[in-house]
Symmetry: C2
Subunit: 233 residues, 2 copies
Amino acid sequence: MPTEHTSRQFDSELETVRSRVLQMGGLVEEQVVNAIDTLINRRLELADEVIAGDLKVDAIEVEVDEACARIIARRQPTAVDLRMLMTVIKTITDLERIGNEAKKIANMSKLIYQAERLSTPRFSEIRQMSGIVLDMLRQSLDAFARLDPSAAQQVPRQDMQVDEAYRTCMNHLITYMMEYPRSISISLEVLFAAKAIERIGDHAKNMSEYVVYMVEGKDVRHTSFATNEREMA
Amino acid sequence: MPTEHTSRQFDSELETVRSRVLQMGGLVEEQVVNAIDTLINRRLELADEVIAGDLKVDAIEVEVDEACARIIARRQPTAVDLRMLMTVIKTITDLERIGNEAKKIANMSKLIYQAERLSTPRFSEIRQMSGIVLDMLRQSLDAFARLDPSAAQQVPRQDMQVDEAYRTCMNHLITYMMEYPRSISISLEVLFAAKAIERIGDHAKNMSEYVVYMVEGKDVRHTSFATNEREMA
C-alpha cells in the first residue's frame, strides 16, 4: 500500500499537471485572441508574436505529455486519477491543435493585408464566430478546472451556432467572389481563416466531452451529448 | 511480482489491442480509398457506404480507448509497454480523424455531382495527392505493425510533396474560378476535398511520429524529424 507521504506527493504531481494544462489553456486562448485581433483589426504587429508563441505551446504539450507518462509509470494510478491523466493527454492535443489554427490565422492575416489594396470582404460573421468560439474555449477550460461538466453544457449548442455562422460566411464570400473575381485569392484566405475559427470550436467541443469522461467515467463522444457531428462535412 | 501466468495474459491483452488498431487502420484505409473513388470516378453508390462506415470507425476508437484504460489500470505497465499503450491512444485519435475526412470527402462528392451539370475542374492533382497520402497511411500503419520507425521514414518527405500538390491544386482552382465565376461553389467543394486529403497526410505523419516515440522513447514531434510544419498555414 502507498504510504500517506507517497500519496501526498502523488496528489501534488497531479495538481502540477492540472495547473500546467490550465496555463497552456490560458496561453492558447491569448494566441487565439491575438490572431483574431490581427485578422479583424489589421493588427499586423501581433502576427509574428502569435507565430513565435506557437513554439511555446508546442513545448508545453511535449512537457505535459512526458509528465503524464512519468506519473502513470511511477504511481500506477487507477480509476479517477487515471481518467484525469488520460483526459489531460487528450486535452493538450486539442489545445496544441487550437494553437496551430491560431498560427494559421496569423499567417493568413499577413497574406490578406500584404496583398494589393483590393477591396476586402467584410468580417461581420468572422467577428460573430470568434466571440462564440472564445466563449466555448473558456467554458471548456473552466469545466476542466472545476471538474464540472455542467460548466461546459452550452458548448455543443454553441458549436452548432458556429457551424451555421460559418456557412453564412461562406455563402457571402461566394457571392462576393462571383461579383469580384479578382478578389478570389484574398477571399479564399478569409474563408480559410473562418474555417480555422470553426475548427477551434470543434476542438473546444472535444475538450468539453473529455471533462464528462473524466468526471462521470463515461465516453460521450459520438453520442447525443455531441449533439451535432464533431466536424462539419 | 507478476506470475508468469499474469504476464502471459498481459502480453495477450496488448497483442489484442495492437491487432485491433491494425484492423481499424485497414478499415480507415478502405474508407479513404472508397471516398476518393467516389470523388474522382463519380462512384456515388459508394458515398453512403463511406458515410455509414464511419460509425464503425468511431465505435472501434471508443472500444480501443476503453481497452487501453482498462489495461493501464489493471496491469500497471511501465516503460515500453506503457509507451505502446500511449501510442495506441494517440494513433486511434488520428485514425478516427482520418475517417472523418473520408466521410467529408464522400459528402462533398455528393454535392459536387448533384449540382447542375456545370463543367467540373479537373482532378489531376487530387489524384496525385491521393496516391501519396494512401502510401503514407500504409507506411505509418506498417511501421506500427512492425514496430519499425524506419518503415515510416519517407512519410515526412511525402507530406511536403502533398502540401506542394495541394498548393498547385489551389492555384489551378483559383484560375478556374476566375474564368468561370459560376463554378465557384462547386470549385470550392473540390478545394475542400483537396484540403481533406492534405489533412489525411498530416494525420499519417502524426502516426509515423508516434512510432518513433514508441520504439525509441523519444518525442520527435515539433523537431527536425517532422521536417516541415505539421499543418500548413
